[in-house]
């Protein structure tokens, strides 16, 4: 019986031009989930429902054992939330924000906060309105991290950060997971970061979860096979082939159920296997979404 920090069951939300459809989501405690989707796919809406900031039309949401949105105050005491559209108070200083959050969250770790100030190259006396975009993001992350939350919810935490800042931020995020009772959910367009750091990956497209699994399973099961078909030979029927590209004699099969046995099946049929390419998470996501969208329009 897994210990779940977040559980969505049958969650739906309807807007005039967009709807979230029957979302099921499970985030085990101690793990980090990467949430990937195109713009407007429903990532932010899902995250807001998780935070209790948007009331779902149907379905149940449980965060840290609290039912949302009813018990959101209790849940949010244990959550650090940073979203891309969130701003701090421009007229106040970074230091004022730190004191403010410190007065609310009992687990605020002042030495850690000061270490982060140094790490992120911020000064307590700086006014928020004088900060660059990257500094603002780092300040918001500092406020979320220093309260030592059990759950970190991050909507595009590294968007707009320069590579150095991104590296620093990701390092601090991973450090959170040294404690196996703490969990992270982050949505990102940076598929490389998601691929490297996530334990679980969820794809969302047009309001529906289209895939959610352990990262290693994704990376293991998706392959591109580059074949050479001899004349008058049909394409071998392989499981999980969702796309056939290339030319007639040099097809490229994309499969999401790869097994090494497939290679010998092809060779037995006289088909040469030139290469079995692994796919990056980005390639997997794009292939997954395109295949799904094509089957929907059919």
């Amino acid at each position: 019986m897994k210990n779940l920090t977040v559980q969505f069951e049958g969650v739906s939300k309807k807007y005039p031009h967009f709807s979230l459809d029957n979302i099921d989501l499970e985030l085990p405690t101690g793990s980090i989930m990467g949430f990937i989707g195109a713009n407007g796919a429903g990532k932010s809406t899902t995250i807001r429902i998780l935070m209790g900031l948007v009331h779902q039309d149907s379905g149940t949401v449980n965060v840290l054992g609290h039912s949302m949105p009813a018990k959101q105050a209790a849940a949010k005491l244990e959550i650090g939330f940073v979203s891309e559209d969130m701003r701090l108070y421009a007229a106040a200083t970074v230091g004022w924000h730190m004191k403010f959050i410190r007065s609310i969250y009992p687990r605020w770790d002042q030495p850690y906060a000061e270490k982060l100030l140094q790490r992120f190259d911020l000064k307590a006396q700086q006014k928020v309105k004088g900060l660059s975009h990257g500094q603002r993001v780092k300040a918001a992350l500092l406020l979320a991290l220093a309260r030592r939350p059990r759950l970190l919810v991050l909507d595009e935490p590294t968007t707009g950060l320069d590579p150095i800042a991104r590296h620093e931020v990701l390092g601090e995020l991973m450090a959170v997971l040294a404690d196996e009772d703490r969990t992270i959910l982050f949505s990102s367009h940076n598929t490389q970061d998601v691929e490297q750091m996530s334990d679980v990956i969820t794809f969302i497209d047009r309001g529906k979860i289209i895939n959610s699994d352990d990262k290693e399973i994704f990376l293991d099961r998706w392959r591109r096979l580059r074949l050479v078909l001899p004349q008058d030979t049909a394409l071998p029927l392989l499981p999980g082939v969702i796309d056939v590209g290339g030319s007639n004699r040099l097809p490229v099969l994309t499969t999401n159920r790869f097994e090494p046995a497939m290679v010998s099946i092809c060779q037995d049929l006289g088909v040469t296997v030139n290469a079995v390419d692994t796919m990056t998470l980005e390639e997997i996501f794009v292939a997954n979404v395109q295949c799904r969208r094509e089957t929907q329009t059919v």
């Binding site: 101690g30 793990s31 980090i32 990701l170 390092g171 991973m174 450090a175 997971l177 040294a178 196996e180 490389q192 490297q196 750091m197 996530s198 334990d199 679980v200 352990d214 990262k215 290693e216 990376l219 692994t278």
Partner: protein, 134 residues
């Protein structure tokens, strides 16, 4: 100790394999001695900025091959008698031979031509080493 592992993002191989390889290299070379304690899965994941599940997979693979040993509640350590060196190099050789065979095939070399190239190179290596000693 654990931060001397370096993961390359542009390496085409899966990340867990990179970890497996680098740990095996350290054991083979003697940097990580038999019986020595190694970082826990979580500690290594944080140090490398890599997901826990990937490090877990690497450790499972290493345990399967007898390179490391995990004791529940006590953490992981290098196996006291990894007998790693010959097996590790054996696998690497097999990989390289496979690759050489494929390249030879692409270049249109016959197996004999490929074979003589390999033995010529090997002989030259031994010859160079003998010259160094002398």
């Amino acid at each position: 100790m654990h931060s001397d592992l370096v993961i390359s993002q542009s390496d085409g191989r899966p990340m867990y394999l990179q970890i497996v390889e680098q740990i095996k290299q350290r054991v083979a070379v003697g940097d990580w001695a038999g019986g020595q304690e190694i970082p826990s899965i979580r500690q290594l994941a944080v140090a490398l900025c890599v997901s826990v599940i990937t490090v877990k997979r690497a450790y499972l693979e290493l345990e399967r091959e007898g390179v490391i040993v995990t004791q529940h509640g006590k953490g992981s350590m290098v196996a006291s008698n990894p007998a790693l060196t010959p097996r590790f190099y054996e696998e690497e050789l097999a990989e390289h031979v496979e690759r050489a065979a494929r390249l030879g095939d692409l270049l249109g070399l016959s197996p004999q031509e490929l074979g003589s190239r390999v033995s010529d190179t090997a002989a030259r290596l031994i010859g160079d080493r003998t010259k160094e000693i002398v």
